[in-house]
């Protein structure tokens, strides 16, 4: 039996009819066409589906859409301001933190949550912070460098 929920995604409010068995990942991709959030493992192990829920990174594949009712959701689409990239996105471009791009949205959102809480992380803290985001391409070195670069002059509102 479908229920009506209210999702606040990237600052916009959507009133949606959802089947209770839908995950937030499915609703974002299939009902809202926000395909920046990726389905990797679908079981909370890879982090490709990471979104921010009230500022905290979660695996959207393990969140029932009904549980996201009324929460503030940030997807990768919510970071850039038109053509103007978020500083973390710029850092990933400049420091080769992206290869195939599949892990990137989840990785950047996790990095955003990390820097919002700890604007000057050590390399160890970065590694611990992104432990839930797997990358099969880069070997993580450039990702860590990108996050480290983004942390210089980082401010929560995004420059």
């Amino acid at each position: 039996m479908k229920k009506v929920i209210e999702l606040k995604v990237n600052g916009e409010i959507f009133e949606l009819d959802v089947d209770p068995r839908r995950t937030l990942l499915e609703v974002l991709r299939e009902q809202l066409s926000l395909t920046g959030t990726h389905k990797g493992c679908d079981e909370g192990e890879c982090g490709a589906c990471t979104v921010l829920m009230d500022g905290s990174p979660v695996n959207s594949c393990l969140v029932l859409a009904m549980d996201a009712d009324g929460k503030n959701i940030t997807t990768i689409e919510g970071l850039a301001d038109g053509d103007h990239l978020h500083p973390i996105q710029t850092a990933f471009v400049e420091h080769a933190g992206i290869q195939c791009g599949f892990c990137t949205p989840g990785m950047i959102l996790t990095a955003k949550a990390l820097l919002d809480e700890n604007p000057e992380p050590t390399t160890e803290e970065i590694k611990k912070g992104i432990a839930g985001n797997l990358c099969r391409c880069t070997g993580y070195t450039q990702i860590i460098e990108s996050i480290s670069a983004a942390s210089k002059n980082y401010s929560k509102e995004g420059e």
Partner: protein, 300 residues
């Protein structure tokens, strides 16, 4: 072992506003309903069709289940729906109930810890459940509420087997209670994993020690293991070796041998061969005892 994940099966999502309502729903839909808090274990089990409840009973709208309450008279009360991330982020838990903090820090990933709950970890009852050994070492009590009333169960008596607890079909774990730790005591949890993160414990050891401040001898000790038996276990014969002793290297070594004997893993498991696990238990028990003693102020 997960071979293939599907989309979730059809469910009805029920959202009671009280524990009593939730228990009544469990009884009403006997066998066809499961409670859900974080859902990080349950939803995976449903995606691979290991479990297919028709009704999910959401615990997240019930007030009181998500709180950490502390007083130095009553000790710590953790609501069963408290997220692992909240436990990891609590300076109070880090300082006074250190083993539990150390367990929470090393579970899964931040994304999971932002959803998963301590109650879920306990009720899912894997032998490797990381919050269990610290709570066993801290001698926690669990509050269970069902349609017939409530009862307090010492955590020692909570686990029956892999994935099995003493919860009856209408009961819900609502609270974890830990007494204020005595002075000159401390606790640690060591989780041994092959990966640096995102791994189940191959062996986990939690230790609680209280020292006598005047002679540094061990006045009280509790040791618990994860992933070494069908359930998380206390190793009480090991504890007896240490109580009253001066915790010399010899005594600690003897205790680690007893801990290895007391654990119940006689077969090679998928994750760890027997002889490696036995060696790990010995090494980690010694290490956990020494680390715990170091954290206690005063003589040692």
């Amino acid at each position: 072992m997960t071979l293939y994940l599907k989309r979730l099966p059809k469910i009805e999502y029920l959202e009671p506003e009280s524990v009593n309502e939730a228990c009544l729903l469990l009884r009403q839909y006997n066998g066809e309903a499961k409670v859900i808090a974080g859902g990080t274990d349950l939803l995976i089990q449903m995606k691979n069709r290991a479990l297919t409840p028709k009704y999910l009973i959401n615990l997240k709208k019930i007030s009181g289940l998500g709180e950490i309450i502390y007083s130095d008279t009553n000790g710590l009360r953790i609501g069963s729906a408290v997220k692992l991330r909240a436990i990891e982020s609590s300076p109070l838990v880090k300082e006074k109930f250190t083993a539990l903090f150390e367990a929470a820090c090393n579970m899964a990933s931040i994304q999971i810890r932002n959803l998963a709950t301590i109650g879920g970890n306990l009720c899912n009852a894997l032998p490797s459940a990381d919050t269990a050994p610290p709570l066993l070492a801290l001698d926690a009590k669990l509050k269970l509420i069902g349609v017939d009333g409530e009862r307090i169960v010492p955590i020692k008596d909570f686990f029956k087997g892999p994935g099995e607890t003493v919860l009856n079909s209408s009961e819900i774990l609502t609270e974890i209670q830990i007494d204020e730790p005595p002075s000159f005591s401390g606790s640690t949890y060591i989780k041994y994993t092959l990966r640096n993160a995102m791994d189940l414990a191959r062996v986990g050891v939690a230790v609680f020690i209280k020292l006598n401040p005047s002679d540094g001898k061990c006045e009280d000790v509790r040791i618990a293991l994860s992933a070494c038996a069908p359930t998380p276990i206390r190793v009480e014969k090991t504890e007896k070796v240490l109580i009253g002793s001066s915790l010399t290297d010899e005594t600690i070594a003897e205790a680690s041998e007893v801990a290895c004997d007391e654990s119940e893993c006689r077969i090679d498991s998928f994750r760890v061969p027997v002889d490696y696990r036995e060696e790990l238990i010995k090494v980690l028990t010694k290490r956990a005892i020494r680390n715990t003693v170091k954290t206690i102020g005063g003589t040692s």
